[in-house]
């Protein structure tokens, strides 16, 4: 059964407006359904209080809601234990947390962290910072012309270097290609390395099961998953968390503080210093519950229809080159492309004037763009609420814009 898009759209204030945006920028941030806004609204209006502090009824209710959110996230990714879920500010902070705690403690000078060329800057820079701090090497898994990871290269790197960690995206925010995470996990583990999966894009478009992929760390953001900004998630295996030093210092992350020093709390509190994103956790829970009203099969089928239609439109346009896999079935989430002689900022500015929202630039993936030989691209990305009519509008809008810009 296909997702009933009019019904989906009716649940978003932004999409019920008279002239709703043709919002094709979900990979940057998704629109927020009313259910999420309502859940946060209820917290702020009726039981606004801090968590794990005090004995009054409001704080109890807030604490319960915050910890319920953790349970919801744990079951969403298939975690074995609720304490394996740490709330952060976003996906970026979750990756930094791993770099500043686990990696800081366990990596030595001369060890190697492996990244793929598909990575977002948030899964690159924390490792480069670690490399500078600790004398750790960073090695890159190359991608082919279609932006697919060259799996053979992983074997070569794992053989020649002391690899301690492999960091890879579950779904590229530029090419829409989906590395074979399960096989990379197996390779990493066989070589004695751990694996971190950046699921910022993956978690929105496909089911994630950390037991099935057996990854050690997994990260994502709430705002790309129809949830609020200001919250991210780190999943880490319990045994790893037990041996990780705290991240930021402050309230909540301690068991005991004396004038001489402190004893850190257990996970997850150990990694959540200060007042956490309470309303955002409540919003994220609402987003996950809202999303589970749809099956992955229907969402995937719906988005595949959009992907196929949009690839067809772009591939038949003069001068348009699509980055990444040529076949629609090998990609999900987004399509990045260039147009001969037209700068992406001009194209997307003119589309924006027609109410069509696309992103332009290097999409926080400069090494990939450099590798593919393009300075910047325009990107269409889809969500559960997009329609085929919007792809038609995109086609019309692009024709109009390119008429204006063509030399």
């Amino acid at each position: 059964m296909a997702t009933n898009t009019p019904d989906v759209r009716s649940q978003f204030t932004a999409l019920r407006m008279k002239a709703p945006p043709v919002y094709l920028d979900c990979a940057a941030t998704a629109q927020t359904p009313d259910a999420v806004i309502d859940a946060m609204d209820e917290y702020y209006r009726t039981y606004c209080a801090n968590v794990h502090r005090g004995m009054h009824g409001l704080t109890e209710r807030a604490t319960l809601a915050y910890e319920e959110a953790r349970k919801t996230v744990a079951s969403f990714v298939g975690a074995m234990y609720t304490s394996e879920i740490i709330f952060t500010k976003n996906c970026t902070e979750a990756i930094n947390l791993v770099a500043r705690t686990w990696a800081e403690e366990h990596l030595q000078k001369g060890d190697t962290v492996v990244l793929s060329l598909l990575e977002h800057h948030s899964n690159i820079v924390p490792w480069q910072q670690l490399a500078t701090r600790k004398g750790v090497h960073v090695e890159w898994i190359p991608v082919d012309k279609e932006g697919k990871i060259q799996t053979g290269e992983i074997d070569a790197i794992l053989q020649r270097a002391t690899v301690k960690l492999v960091c890879v995206t579950g779904l590229s925010n530029v090419t829409g290609s989906r590395p074979d995470i399960a096989s990379m996990t197996k390779k990493a583990h066989d070589a004695g390395a751990l694996i971190l999966v950046d699921a910022a894009q993956l978690a929105v478009h496909h089911k994630v099961d950390v037991q099935e992929i057996d990854c050690d760390f997994l990260t994502f953001s709430g705002h790309k998953l129809y949830g609020p900004t200001g919250i991210g998630v780190l999943y880490a295996k319990r045994d790893l968390l037990r041996n990780m030093p705290p991240f930021l210092g402050g309230g909540m992350m301690i068991q005991d503080v004396t004038m001489e020093g402190f004893t850190p709390a257990e996970s997850p509190a150990r990694f959540e210093a200060g007042t956490p994103p309470i309303a955002q956790a409540i919003g994220l829970k609402a987003a996950i519950e809202w999303l589970s009203g749809y099956s992955w099969e229907e969402m995937e089928a719906h988005e595949q229809t959009l992907m196929t239609a949009c690839m067809r439109v772009l591939q038949r346009m003069d001068g348009v080159s699509v980055i990444g896999p040529h076949s629609a079935t090998e990609r999900s989430g987004c399509i990045s492309f260039t147009v001969d002689g037209v700068h992406p900022h001009d194209l997307t500015d003119l589309l924006g004037q027609e109410g069509i929202a696309l992103r332009a630039g290097h999409h926080c993936a400069q090494p990939l763009h450099k590798h593919l030989g393009v300075p910047a691209t325009s990107r269409v990305s889809f969500g559960i609420y997009n329609t085929e009519e919007e792809i038609d509008l995109l086609e019309k809008g692009m024709k109009k814009a390119l008429d204006i810009l063509k030399i």
Binding site: H343, H345, D346, D349, L350, G361, P375, I404, L405
Partner: protein
């Protein structure tokens, strides 16, 4: 009013003074890193006047039309007047409503000119904040 007004598209399609200058006194490049716009300016100065000017570059219509329009204006201008140009002068020359999304595209020409002239005078280059005149409060 339209960002992609006729004069902008005209200069974008048919850029003026585009090329290199063999006997330039100053050659200076600047980029708008977040967009990937690039401009290299070549200037020849005689009797404190911009006797000849040329530019090379790649990027969006706004940045490329901007430098083309500015070069037409600069040709023959005294160095003194060129040094005094402000961002308002550039906006007036372009004649389009430049909003917060595109002001760096529009002002790349000014940024390149300012720093070319600073280097010519042996002065330190200025950063983007100074060019766009944003107060760092």
């Amino acid at each position: 009013m339209d960002l992609y007004a006729e004069n902008i598209l005209d200069h974008y399609r048919d850029p003026r003074h585009k090329g290199v200058l063999a006997n330039a006194d100053i050659t200076h490049s600047e980029a708008n890193i977040s967009c990937g716009d690039e401009v290299t300016l070549h200037i020849r100065i005689e009797d404190n006047r911009i006797a000849d000017i040329a530019w090379e570059g790649t990027g969006c219509a706004i940045s490329q039309a901007g430098i083309s329009i500015l070069c037409e204006e600069l040709h023959g201008m005294s160095v003194h007047d060129a040094t005094a140009l402000t961002k308002e002068d550039i906006y007036e020359l372009l004649g389009i409503p430049v909003g917060p999304r595109r002001f760096k595209c529009a002002l790349l020409c000014l940024h390149t000119l300012k720093n070319a002239l600073h280097i010519c005078e042996g002065e330190p280059v200025q950063d983007w904040l100074q060019t766009v005149e944003i107060e760092d409060e």
